[in-house]
Structures are given as C-alpha cells and as structure tokens.
Symmetry: D2
C-alpha cells in the first residue's frame, strides 16, 4: 500500500470510528430510531469513500504492475469480482 | 426504542466495531488492498442488517402509533425519506 | 393504485423505456463501453425514482388502511421485506 | 466492443426489455404495488449483471491496452469514476 493511501485511509477510518461511537451513544440513550438510521446511512457512505481511496491505490499499483507483468487475467478477474461484491 | 430492539442493535454494533478494528489492523499492517476492500463491503452489509433491526422496531412502534393517532402524513413522509436516503 | 400514482408511474416508465432503447442503440453501434455503463447506472437511478413513487402510493393507501384495520403485523413485515430486497 | 461482449449484452438487454414490459402491464392492470416494486428491484439487479458483462469486456480490452500503452493515469481515473458512479 502506498504511504499516501495508507495515511488517507487511516484518517478516514478514524472518522468512521468516531461516527460509529456516536451511533452507539444514540442507541444507548434511546434516541429517535429514524435519526439513528440516518447516521447509519452516513457511515455506509463514509465506508464507500474509504473504499474509493483503497481502490484508487490498488489501481495505481497492483493493477498497473500486474498488467505490465502479463498477469492481466488475474488482475481483471479480481477487479470484476470486487465490482460484483461491492453491492451485493 | 423497544428493549428488544435496543439489545439486538447494541449486539450488532459490537460486532461492527470489532470488524472495523480488524480493518484498521489490516491497513496498519499493509495487508493486500483487495482483502481490505472486501472487509469494508462486509461492514456495509452488517450496517444494513443493523438498519433492518432499527427499521423493524420503528415500524412496530412509531409508525403504527402514528397512523392510529392520525399522523399518517408525517409518518409516511418520513418512511419515504428514509427509503430515498438509504441508497443515496 | 391511486390514479395519480399510476399516471406518474407510467410516465416514469416511458422515460425508462426510451432510455433503455438508447442503451440498445449504443451497444449495437459499438459505442464506448464506459459510456454505455454510465447510461445503465442512470437507468437504475430512474428505476429507484419509479420505486419511490410506487412506495409513496403504497404507504398512503395499503399501509395506512392496513394499520387502521388491525393488520399491522402483515403491513410492517411486508415493508421490512421490501427494505431488505431493495438493495440485495 | 468484443463480439462476445456485444452478443451477451444484447441478450441480457432483451431480457430486461421483456421484464420492463411486464412491469408496464402490471401497473396498467393495477397489480399490487408491492409486487410491482419487487419486479423493479429485479430489473435493477438484471442491469447490474449487464454492467458486469460490459465492465468485463472493458477491462479485458481498453484497460489492458491502455495500461500497456502508458495511458494508466486515464484508464485508472476512469475506472475509479465508474466505481463512484455505480452506486451514487
């Protein structure tokens, strides 16, 4: 993983952890379900942003190198699998 | 929030927190991006399950009471908003 | 189904049908895959808007009536099932 | 577009068109909203399968060629954009 991808991912992750702690507090304090639901949606969107960072790093490193090294069958199969899993 | 919904939600949440801690460890230890991505997808699916528990509780309490009390305009508008937000 | 919901749904549907015909044309004419993909994403979003119209109609009619008639167990179970299916 | 990708895409598309015609009939005949909604969800999933075919073709042709030709910046930026758009 590139240093930059790693740093950005960990920053994102800290944000998500804080957000999740907020959801725990809301549930423990019996906040209105609809408000808790909206926060859970927001955490999923934050995870999607984390995934975009990780995917960006993956594309620029492993994918480019793999294709240049003649492993395009593996690389493309893996990307397709990720696409399918992303929204299962 | 019903006691049952609360207990089940907090249990789910503990699972999600543990899963997220696992993702942090993977990033810190420079694990393969594709594997980290798959774990992030799994956390999103776990959040969707948490949301189903919260929504179930909301439907059985606030929605039923609200409609019986003549506040169906508010209750239905809120459900539609949730539906739209869920996958934004 | 309310007359209004029906009219609005059919209008949306015509739009989606036209959009899908456009995608067929693009594939037949060997347009750039990425552009075809973007159109397919747009059709999915248009379907989500159609679904919001249908759900809105359902909430204002069957859900409200069902809960008032004491069938809240069925009505809420069905809504939860829809929520889960929507993003499977 | 590869001949194979094209043939498979058009086949998928015919299926989606038939499915969509079924939804139109259901709305015109005032079928139960919940059943119409479930069909719309199914069409979205069918579109996702069409997208997987198109993406697979794109990865094996343009992406591999692009990276070999030194245009990895463009190719990876486009893939990342697709990922973000897919679930907007």
């Amino acid at each position: 993983m590139k240093t930059e991808t790693k740093a950005e991912s960990l920053k994102r992750l800290s944000y998500i952890e804080g957000h999740l702690a907020g959801v725990r507090k809301m549930i423990e304090e019996d906040k209105y379900c609809v408000d808790v639901l909206k926060q859970s949606f927001a955490i999923r969107r934050a995870l999607e942003k984390l995934e975009a960072i990780l995917l960006d790093g993956h594309l620029h490193t492993c994918v480019v190198t793999g294709i240049r090294d003649g492993r395009e069958a593996d690389v493309t199969a893996e990307l397709l699998e990720l696409y399918k899993l992303a929204n299962k």
